[in-house]
Each structure stands twice: as C-alpha cells, then as structure tokens.
C-alpha cells in the first residue's frame, strides 16, 4: 500500500486545477513511475495526489496546419515512439523516448512527468531543448507559456505553480523544419539505467555554413542545459572539420558537470567532449554533410 494521505481523481484539466487548488499540498500524478516510488518510500511531499492518469486531452499528439507540433504532457514514451507525427518530423524526440527505462516504464511514464519532476537526467529534456520546446501550463490564472530552458530552475525545481498542470510541449515549425538533429544517451547499461551524460545536437545548415546550431546536455549541470556560448560561436562557421574542433573545445565552458556515485566529474568531462563531436556528426550525416 502506498503512503497516500489524500487522493482525488480528475477527469479534465480544469477539474485537476480546481482539485489542486482545494488541496494545497497535492501534486499531480500521471504515469506514476516517479510519484509512486516516492509515495512508497513514505516521502511526505507525495502523500497528497490529484490523479490525471486518465485525462484524455493531455495524451494527444497533434500537428497543426501551420506546422506547430503539440505534444500532450500525458503522452507516454511509447506514444511518442509510435507516433508518426514524432518519427516523421522530430525523430530526435523519439530517440530520447526509446532510451527511457524499459518497455513497461515507457508504456506508463509520461513526457510531462519526465520534465515536471525536474530531474537533471531526464531523457526527453535534451531533445526538447534543442527543439526549442515551449512549455504550456494551465492554472487558476489561465495559460502560461515559456521556453523549456526557462522552465528549469534547479535540481528537481521547475517553474510550475502548485495548482498548474503542464498541458503540452509546443514545437514551432521554424525549430524543426529543415533542421537535422540527433540524441545519444551514454549510460553504463543499454536499458533500465539513468544517463551518465545525455547529449542532443540540432543544426540548421545554410549552404556550406552553420545557419544555427543547438546543443543540450543532461547530467552536465544542476538542470538539463543548453550550450549558449558554443552555439553563438558556431553561428556562420564553415561546415568542415574545424567545426568539430570548435564545438569540442568550447562545450565544457557551457556546462557544470559534477562528481556523483555514478561517475566522477573528470569522466563526465571526457564523455561530454566526445559526445558533442559524435552527436554533431550523427546529426550532420542526416543532411548528407560529412566532415571527415
């Protein structure tokens, strides 16, 4: 039996918001793969829950006529992997989704939960960061939108008010059309493991130059991080082997990896440099650019 002191089930987003307002200690529970583990451990922060597991509106993945992709926060990782909208347009997010846990967890865990629990290791975070995803929240005061990198505030902390529900992640057409992108998770096992380092790279080539480049890492700082300085340096750079050099030399300046029992800082720094180069090459190969 889970250590749950109060339980309320919502059938809609609006009902969930009003239940959260009435229960100021309550947290939303969707897939439950994080919340139930914490409730089972007797963590008092998860003793009051508002259940959004069966709110159908949150599970939709839609492609708007203008090219905007809306990923419902309640979509499971399996939903992402099996969605043609995702695999045809933003396959980098499916790469992130397939690297989560194991099949049973992917069948239950939601992308919204993965982001809202604020874990620095979230497998969907790096792909969503390089897609410039916009977080959509609905609360008592209405709808708020912000870029994902602003939503992250610290380890385990995100900019979600207690009575707000993350409804969707929004990806604009200018952030994926004509872009190439790739994600790689470095972990000690191929499944059922937390990332040692996760890396996503997206590039918008412009002729033989970098139009735009985006890099994002997980477990390389207190939150998943974009590499703003490196991205700025790479703007307009030639698409030749010097780009790999530039990225490898610059990327650590954007990140703050640390020691943990999973891996020492020095190993993480080494992995970061290697992955930045490798994932960049993987992404560029999709557009037929070979730098070697």
């Amino acid at each position: 039996m889970f250590d749950i002191d109060s339980y309320h089930k919502a059938d809609s987003v609006d009902e969930a918001i009003s239940l959260l307002l009435q229960n100021p200690n309550a947290v939303p529970i969707a897939g439950g793969t994080d919340v139930l583990i914490r409730a089972r451990q007797g963590n008092p922060d998860y003793a009051h829950v508002v259940d959004i597991h069966d709110v159908g509106d949150l599970k939709k993945i839609t492609l708007r006529p203008d090219g905007t992709i809306l990923v419902g926060s309640g979509a499971t990782f399996t939903d992402l992997i099996e969605s043609g909208i995702i695999t045809d347009n933003i396959p980098v997010l499916a790469q992130g989704a397939i690297s989560v846990g194991g099949p049973q967890v992917r069948n239950q865990a939601t992308v919204g939960g993965n982001i809202c629990n604020g874990a620095p290791s979230a497998d969907s975070a790096a792909p969503l960061l390089v897609l410039n995803a916009i977080v959509e929240l609905k609360g008592p005061q209405g709808i708020r939108r912000m870029p994902l990198h602003e939503f992250y505030q610290g380890p385990g902390r995100v900019d979600r008010e207690q009575a707000e529900i993350m409804t969707a992640l929004r990806i604009a057409p200018d952030d994926y059309q004509c872009w190439v992108a790739s994600y790689h998770k470095y972990a000690m096992r191929d499944a059922m493991d937390i990332a040692t380092i996760g890396c996503a790279v997206a590039c918008l080539p412009q002729g033989k130059q970098v139009g735009k480049l985006r890099l994002a890492f997980t477990v390389a700082g207190p939150t998943p991080l974009r590499c703003w300085k490196t991205e700025e340096k790479a703007r307009g750079a030639a698409l030749d082997p010097s780009l790999i050099q530039l990225v490898a030399e610059s990327v650590l300046g954007d990140l703050r990896p640390r020691d943990s029992w999973r891996a020492p800082k020095d190993l993480r720094r080494q992995i970061i440099k290697t992955m930045a180069q490798r994932v960049l090459l993987e992404a560029l190969q999709q557009s037929g650019v070979s730098l070697s």
Binding site: M1, F2, D3, I4, Y7, K9, G32, T33, L36, I37, R40, D51, H53, D54, T78, I98, G101, G102, P103, Q104, V105, N107, Q108, D190, A191, M192
Partner: protein
C-alpha cells in the same frame, strides 16, 4: 478511501471495492492471482508484469483504480484447458526457466511481443530491447530469446539451431 472498480481479468469480468492506495499487484495477489510476483516493487525488475489492454505494465507501479474499465491478462489466463500457451511451451522447450520467479512476468512480456510481431521478421536486438524491463538472474536470457524466436518462426518447421551471442564471443 475506497472505490469500486470493474475490469476484466483473463477474460472474466471482475468487480471489487479497492483501497485507492493499493497497487494493482496487491489487488491481484489478494484475489488469488499469485502468479503475479513482487520483486523490486519499484518498476525495475518486471516480475509483476501484466498486460493492461494488451500492453505490458509493471503492476507494482500501477494504481489498482487505473484498471477500472480496462482488461488485464496475467499468467494464470495463458494456459487453456490444461494446455500451455505457445509462449509457455517455448519457454519449456528452450530451457528458459530456472528458478522461475521472473517467469510469469517474462511470459507476459514475451506474449505481448509475439502477438504484436506475429508474421514479422524481428532481430535479436529488438527482442532484447523489448524484454529489457524484465530481469532474470538465472538463465542469462539466451533461452528466453530463443523461446521468443521459436514462437515467431514457422511452427511446422524444425527449429533451426541458433548461434548464440555467447558462442560468437567464444570463437
């Protein structure tokens, strides 16, 4: 904190009153479905795997109330009239069972995989990826993978010897 739920378990309709704090694993075991095993209790080992609307889930991390209106399959429903299911028989034939604790969960994962990919050619990597949520500390997985391959290959055909990864590494 009690609620009434109605679902189907192994094709039979089932209604009961549950405490909302209970996992599906607890409700199943309390009602006699003790083939469903509790291993880690934290979604890591897969011993508690059941099929929820044909999709494998860890019943230890699944609130029983979420089963309301849904259809559950456990290992108890897989043999019919005293005959093992094709997946169960393949597990026996390939020696995929040793201590047996992980077996009920693995049977359900394999059953979902075989039913989803019937008639398709699948790679060992696909089998491994889709069984990665079930831990087995005895068999080394080789027999389990062969069992899945056996189920997906033509039944009338004589089972072809499969060169294992372990053998590849030894040569």
């Amino acid at each position: 904190m009690n609620r009434k739920i109605s679902c189907s378990i192994n094709g039979k309709s089932f209604s009961t009153t549950i405490d909302v704090r209970k996992s599906l694993l607890e409700i199943l075991r309390e009602n006699g479905y003790i083939g469903v095993k509790e291993g880690c209790g934290a979604g890591e080992c897969g011993a508690c795997t059941v099929l929820m609307d044909e999709v494998p889930v860890n019943s230890c991390l699944y609130l029983a109330i979420w089963a309301d209106g849904r259809s559950i399959r456990t290992v108890e429903g897989e043999s019919r009239d005293g005959s093992l299911s094709a997946v169960q028989q393949a597990y026996l034939d390939t020696g995929a069972v040793q201590c047996g604790f992980c077996t009920p969960g693995l049977i359900m994962t394999s059953t979902a995989f075989v039913e989803k990919h019937k008639g398709e050619t699948v790679t060992r990597e696909q089998i491994r990826l889709q069984h990665a949520g079930n831990l087995c500390r005895c068999t080394g997985y080789e027999g389990i993978i062969r069992a899945v391959e056996k189920c997906l290959s033509d039944k009338d055909e004589e089972a072809k010897p499969v060169i294992s990864k372990a053998c590849d590494m030894e040569t």
